[in-house]
Symmetry: D2
Subunit: 357 residues, 4 copies
């Protein structure tokens, strides 16, 4: 269960940051689906490191090798095994961390759990594991497309630069700028904020919004596998994620019932909500309106400056990180958020097929 997500459409992943490879197995992929592996690779490339100065300079090609489950361009219904080799590994950068616990990192908690760890580049705790998520998500998106379902993800905040409500959103922009913001002007301001932070050896956090359009009513398995619960669990499993808001989210906590009461209109055999405060899900089940949510990410814990911490014996030490790190994870988290949403929605689509004979 630890390294597997999903009930029907399931990803099981493996890989340490500085081991031979990352990879995974996608089980439960429906059979007979035409897949475009070039398109898959393009999606995976969006989270690739080294694409801009804003993110880690580790130079990984992140070339996905598919080992099974696809035959003559179509899915077989059998598991899809894949690997992504770790090429640009500089493990020597991490030798000084072998016996040290970095603050706000997973070093200590993993050591406490397992009694040992691969300290090189964070090992399995590194965000490098998210490459497997994006591979699976990219294929899930190709399936969802056949169903008329589209998954969008984009940056809404970096540091204190926020995408303002009412900004003109151009989805083509999202992947063409380095911060993954669909508004070019805001994107520039965000990029500048990241630049400034880097110059100071500092780091930034931010927020990512995800919207799923075209989801039919009826997805979500009450009471514990509600669609919103599954989305929350999936999103909070992403490294550095610290908050999850469904629809209007925590804003609703301060509103009165009379303000949140949404008006429904019958349209084409379905219902359309005027405000869609609940974000397309009610009682844990999709209602046919757009699903949207927001995920908050903390700043990267590795700062490029002297850091006081302790070693494994509890002695105070000062370290100066010299591995390659993101200044802000948010741009690279955007395709991961998208991938997680795609996997969850496809899984629930398949599950919902079993609600009737």
């Amino acid at each position: 269960m630890a390294n597997t997500i999903g009930s029907i459409f399931r990803l099981t992943s493996f890989g340490e940051s500085h081991g031979p490879a990352m990879g995974g197995i996608i089980d439960g992929m429906p059979a007979g689906i035409e897949v475009d592996l070039n398109e898959m690779q393009r999606v995976v490339d969006r989270r690739r490191p080294g694409q801009s100065q804003l993110v880690t300079q580790r130079a990984e090609a992140d070339q996905v090798e598919i080992l099974s489950g696809i035959f003559e361009g179509r899915t077989l219904g059998t598991p899809i095994g894949f690997v992504v080799r770790n090429m640009d590994v500089r493990s020597e950068d991490y030798g000084h961390l072998r016996d040290v616990y970095r603050p706000s990192h997973a070093d200590y908690s993993w050591q406490a759990k397992y009694g040992l760890r691969d300290h090189r580049g964070g090992g399995r705790a590194s965000a490098r594991e998210t490459v497997s998520r994006v591979v699976a998500g990219a294929l899930a998106m190709q399936v969802l497309e056949h169903l008329g379902i589209q998954v969008l993800a984009y940056t809404t905040q970096i540091g204190d630069v926020k995408l303002q409500p009412g900004s003109p959103l151009d989805w083509n922009q999202t992947w063409s700028n380095a911060v993954r913001c669909p508004d070019a002007t805001t994107a520039q301001r965000m990029a500048r904020a990241v630049d400034e932070a880097r110059a100071q050896g500092n780091t930034l956090g931010g927020m990512v919004c995800c919207a799923v359009m075209g989801v039919p009513a009826g997805l979500g398995e009450p009471v514990f596998n509600k669609l919103n619960a599954a989305l929350a669990g999936a999103m909070m499993s992403i490294p550095a994620a610290k908050s999850f808001d469904m629809g209007a989210g925590r804003m609703l906590a301060s509103m009165r019932g009379s303000e949140t009461l949404d008006t429904m209109h019958a349209v084409d055999g379905g219902l359309v909500y005027e405000h869609n405060y609940s974000g397309g899900i009610q009682g844990g089940i999709s209602n046919g309106n757009n699903i949207f949510m927001e995920i908050g990410f903390k700043p990267v814990a590795t700062l490029m400056r002297d850091i006081d911490t302790i070693d494994m014996q509890g002695n105070p030490v000062t370290i100066h990180p010299h591995g390659r790190h993101d200044v802000c994870v948010v741009p690279r988290a955007v395709p991961v958020v998208q991938a997680m949403a795609a996997m969850v929605v496809l899984d629930h689509y398949l599950l919902a097929k079993t609600n009737h004979l």
Copy 2:
């Protein structure tokens, strides 16, 4: 998977609001644990309806009947079956809703999913199902106590009344006032806010904080069943939950890395964080510091006034609810949040036992 939560310690629940009974099966309970069923009943009573004017006036005794798994006062290691009868059912109050979709309710989404529904009192979508969660959570808490783990939950906001940082918190207060706030003064202001909303036929939302103390380092199963991911999924499965913040949560998204960098101190073979911004979890694994999180709840969607909506044929209709409803779910959500946290932590405690031979 739908009605089951947990990997080792697992609750499977059943029950419609106006059917014969609610209930569940707790599987994976460790054997040989002494349990106090009176104490369990006291915990269950905290979410019982009709306790104050602030919540629904449905008069349910919520008497738990244990049917198996406990023998001569100790757990057998076999599944614990239990039922809670629905006594005060006024199904006739809901006859007018048989063919109507209430706005911001689950009526339409459930109908779309299943093709039929028990419309009486919300059926399975009713928050009445949470009684089974509290039964299982109450027993989980008794087990956690043997491990020195304590789970607290309390109200931090109702409407726009917030528990201010620095308020004196008295855990004994929590269960002695109607709003479940550990600060008596704030509790009074919250109660007044609920009273006012009720007088206006309006409803309120709010926030619940949960803290788990005494959790050993090493709980959480990366990468998809991280402790924070499991907690987020569990909390977002509670009816009306709309947001989840882990530790300092979304506040971190606006902070710089240098501000969030937490200082560790070696203490008694473990580590203590100065600020504990991450809420006791790093890389998905507990670090031995207090775990805390906050969950946001939307206002109840049933207002005691004329409501314009549509029927199952899409025709506009006006309804006037006359069932018995909570004005604010937050007070009754507090024991549910506590129960969910207890179940997740116990489940991960047991899972972590399998990390080593």
Copy 3:
């Protein structure tokens, strides 16, 4: 996982032999299915104790109370909770066994596992738990009927009396004689064998055949959840089951390939096998031919005579059982085998719906 079976259609059960009640929760039942609860009760009655002199004289009404999931005669898609009260409990009959390990019984292994046990009537290890399986199986059969799938089970051997190949089989006979054999003549010989064994304070084992007709090609999830693997696991979980043969089973081990090569004929868009040696499953997936299997049961371990054994301290003791026991479990195992097959086939029918978009 312990007390749950199935992936989509899932039964979770609870109950000790001499506790207040047996029961369970059926999750994943498709929505909108008309169910006949009287018919369900009739099926459950077939395994009821006390029906003939051949089985235990414990007088249980085994009245099933449905607590949820069915509304106005149709399934809601929500979990079906049910209880069956234990009425005729004579726990005092078991007082002498509190500190004793009976040979060939589960007393010692359960004590070793859990450190304590409910010794009364075998506790959770009693075959009484199978009542929950039959409740779920009876409902599963009603669903399968809508799909044109029929599940048969019948006794083929008791002691050394065997149903001979070529005997005229009359399915109506199965449930009208005490041994559940579809050939009246053989049934009489089997009944006589059981009578004789009882007269001697002895017990008998036997074999049960199960056939599933009308299963469409395509059910079974390779490679670990093959239909035959799922059936084997389900059948071997029945108390006293000791062998499982799929199709022609172990007979095939002694045959040459040229003898087992089955000829296929294309019929109505499907295939019909001449001999169907493989029992309707190839590569773990149903091929549209009849599925059949045979399950072997050992004799009941409780003999009505002095038995030398040891107590919990390892001291030799002699016990003389005086609880009420079956002389031969086979007749009561027949409806259990049928129930397990029905659950597995329905589960795989629902799973197979997810193989395609």
Copy 4:
């Protein structure tokens, strides 16, 4: 669930016979275990094709590449990803089978399920997938060794040559002869039987016995995940497996209770059974005695002669197989049976750790 086995110690596998690679992910491996990868490779080599004239002449090195989860010779507790490349692929041998359904093969049932299939060498239905099972089993055995648990598997029958009770068994023999029989004389007779069958273009089936020594009392999770149920499901998922006998198995069905009543002796805080008819498991839980079971395998369905069958349109066709095939799967099934037993026992060992706090 389809391509995953186990609850805690879990193998997920992938790979088609003539695709780029086979492989898998082992999740739930306990942390900190020293592993010997050369020893693992030696175990994997035992099922390698081309080792003798008795089995398929496909020349696969079956070199296992470990991609994660092991660091400096010890398990990290993180998932172990591995691949085994398919090197000696002659897909052209299978071109004539693209549109044909072979009798007693999985061609039709897989086509019916998925609507397409990789026809080359049986695709995913090929026994080649078992290489992943042996990799995981080989590592599981290394863990079990630390616990003093040893898993044996050996051939007891090929065609009509049977290992006679009372034969002198020499475990070192098992892996040094081609048929995997621990009695050299019987091994020679078995080898001769296979030779003769091959000369005639015929094939043989047989039986494999598996014994697990040193299992502590208390493993097995009632009621549906009993140790015998888990073993039965695991064994019946092996290609060509058709029967499963636990302990004395079906022999018990013909015996009287008085004959099967086993005498227990208290020894060293545990119990020793005189006959151990039940094969070390009672009530689904290990009792500390040796666990043993027997699995029956059907003859290989591909005969080297003209075979009348039908094509995908239902037209009669005659094929003459010219791929490379085993004459008898039994010798290569022996390490697979051993691997499955090792995985199941280790999984239950870890599960049993959760039965107590």
